[in-house]
């Protein structure tokens, strides 16, 4: 009896044992700062002096008085709407390209990954040079072939595009994730399909794509989060300009905290962003049951049935 109980306990405790590192880390390092930042969002905290409680004041101010809040939110949504699918499409395309069995593909693989390795500070300086409207390398090259390039970082109509151009440069990370996943597909799966006479396009859509849906989900969610939190690049490349056309929500939050020293307000900004991302993520997850296929899931059913018999 005792042994049975112990066994049962162990079986029940096992999963918690595996996730315990994260739980401990969460309790020790994460939850405190998270809660404190939530509390702070109800305070007026000018950093250099003591915080003062102001109830929902920060939130009310944000929604009713601060025009920049809505503008920045719109800019970030627009950026996410363009950047997320674009970046994922490019990453997947590149990942397919570098899995092709051609000679020298290794070298290209490394080349595609180099940009993702370069530190953000240097990347933004280089792009600043390249994209400078009057004295930049890109417009100089364009002028050689008779095109007058736009003022990338000065014309509000082009600036967001310029930021997307520069951030697509870091696509290597996502490419590598897709690549690893594609590489893990057993060749037998393809061989079977080849015998059936499936074309490469067909193979891609009916074999590769379904198998990598778990990583597509991963990349989708993390890049939604990433595009809302985009700060470094815009801060260094455009500073939010021209005419605040790239004043991303992440930059808005950062500036409220560290430029205007309104840490309470910035916390409120961050928590509103949190809610928005959370809703988006929940929607994606909800929908994922229809388009993400986990290899393991079919088997799970079996196990459940077996477990029931015991």
């Amino acid at each position: 009896m005792k042994i049975m109980k112990r066994k049962k306990f162990i079986r029940k405790a096992t999963p918690y044992f595996f996730i315990s590192p994260w739980i401990i880390g969460f309790l020790v390092f994460t939850i405190g700062p998270l809660i404190l930042s939530l509390i702070m969002s109800f305070f007026d905290w000018p950093l250099t002096t003591e915080p003062v409680f102001r109830g929902f004041g920060n939130y009310i101010e944000m929604f009713t008085k601060d025009a920049q809040f809505w503008k920045s939110l719109r800019i970030s949504l627009k950026y996410a709407a363009i950047f997320v699918p674009l970046n994922m499409g490019i990453a997947l395309f590149l990942a397919m390209l570098i899995t092709q069995p051609v000679r020298g593909v290794k070298v290209f693989r490394t080349i595609f990954y180099i940009p993702a390795v370069i530190s953000g500070v240097a990347v933004s300086i280089i792009w600043g040079w390249i994209l400078n409207g009057d004295y930049g390398a890109l417009n100089y090259l364009l002028s050689l072939i008779g095109i007058e390039g736009p003022r990338w970082l000065v014309d509000p109509a082009w600036a967001l595009f310029a930021v997307i151009l520069a951030s697509a440069f870091g696509v290597g990370t996502m490419m590598l994730i897709f690549y690893t996943n594609i590489k893990s597909i057993p060749i037998t799966v393809y061989e079977a399909a080849s015998l059936d006479g499936a074309s490469p396009a067909r193979q891609f859509f009916s074999i590769t794509l379904p198998i990598i849906t778990p990583t597509i989900l991963f990349n989708l969610i993390t890049s939604i989060i990433g595009s809302f939190q985009q700060v470094t690049l815009v801060m260094l490349l455009t500073g939010g300009g021209p005419l605040k056309s790239t004043y991303f929500y992440g930059l808005y939050t950062y500036n409220n905290a560290f430029k205007h020293h309104k840490l309470g307000y910035a916390s409120a900004n961050a928590w509103v962003m949190f809610i928005i991302i959370l809703i988006l993520t929940a929607l994606v997850f909800k929908s994922s049951s229809t388009w993400v296929f986990y290899e393991a899931e079919a088997k799970k059913e079996n196990k459940k049935r077996r477990g029931g018999k015991k």
Partner: protein, 273 residues
């Protein structure tokens, strides 16, 4: 798989065009490191330096105690990467292969921790580390990594979810316990994604400068990325040394990547070559 000549040609053209897009800024940067600052900003821009100033690299390296920074960077990178791989694979395994009470909520919380920007949790975190006495040490940069990070846990979980359970059934029948299954069955299968997590973590830690900026104080504790950022002043930036260090800093991750690439390919036997 066999390929027609035409397909091959198309692939090569695509590869080349994209490579040019990715390499152009880097090449531009690389040649700039040998120029004088005046030449670097000259208009019209020239690709090659008129005189190759190899000493730029030496001067850049000497301008700050980069030897010390390198040591710190390696320490932080190696220790966090080891920690992340171990902890994230454990946690991901827990989330992917078990059913337990509160799993969905815990997983949602895990994801949520990625959604709050660091700007607003940084100061509370600083207070906490200060309480621990960790400020101005490398501990705040290393120790949390041993408890996993949501990003990599999520990534590993996705990979694990894709692995059929057939693999473990046999072992279960042989009486192996969960830890043995994790260690002996899933780790080998997951080698490519473990390597992937290692590479991704290595690069983000290697280049991270906000963490070191906030938690470190003395130059003897600085990392390379922080030293790199220190070339950027309030009114002027030392562009040439900054680019030199950037180029030097790219080398270790690239080597790691080339090595890792091999393992990602070899990891699963029978995958397409």
């Amino acid at each position: 798989m066999k390929m027609s000549r035409k397909t091959k040609a198309i692939i090569y053209i695509l590869l080349t065009v994209i490579a040019v897009y990715f390499l152009a800024p880097f090449v531009y940067m690389f040649f700039t490191t040998f120029k004088t600052e005046a030449e670097a900003i000259a208009y019209p821009p020239k690709l090659l330096p008129s005189k190759w100033l190899f000493e730029n690299f030496v001067n850049a390296w000497k301008s700050q105690p980069f030897g010390t920074y390198l040591k710190n960077s390696i320490l932080v990178t190696v220790l966090t990467t080891t920690g992340q791989i171990l902890s994230c694979s454990l946690v991901a395994y827990g989330f992917a292969k078990f059913e337990f009470k509160g799993k969905n909520i815990l997983f949602m919380i895990l994801l949520s921790t990625m959604m709050i920007p660091w700007d607003v949790t940084m100061i509370p975190q600083y207070m906490e580390f200060n309480m621990f006495g960790w400020i101005n040490t490398l501990k705040p940069l290393i120790i949390p990594a041993w408890f996993g990070s949501a990003y990599y846990i999520f990534l590993m979980r996705q990979f694990l979810m894709g692995v059929p359970k057939d693999f473990e059934e046999a072992a279960r029948i042989d009486g192996a316990n969960s830890f043995q299954i994790y260690w002996k069955i899933y780790m080998p299968i997951l080698k490519p994604s473990l390597i992937l997590v290692g590479v991704l973590n290595m690069i983000s830690v290697w280049n991270d400068y906000l963490g070191p900026l906030i938690f470190l104080q003395e130059r003897s504790k600085y990392t390379l990325a922080l030293g790199l950022a220190a070339f950027k002043g309030v009114h002027s930036t030392r562009i040439i040394p900054m680019l030199c260090i950037t180029v030097i800093m790219i080398i270790p991750p690239i080597i790691a990547f080339i090595v890792a690439q091999k393992y990602i390919v070899e990891g699963t036997s029978g995958s397409i070559k």
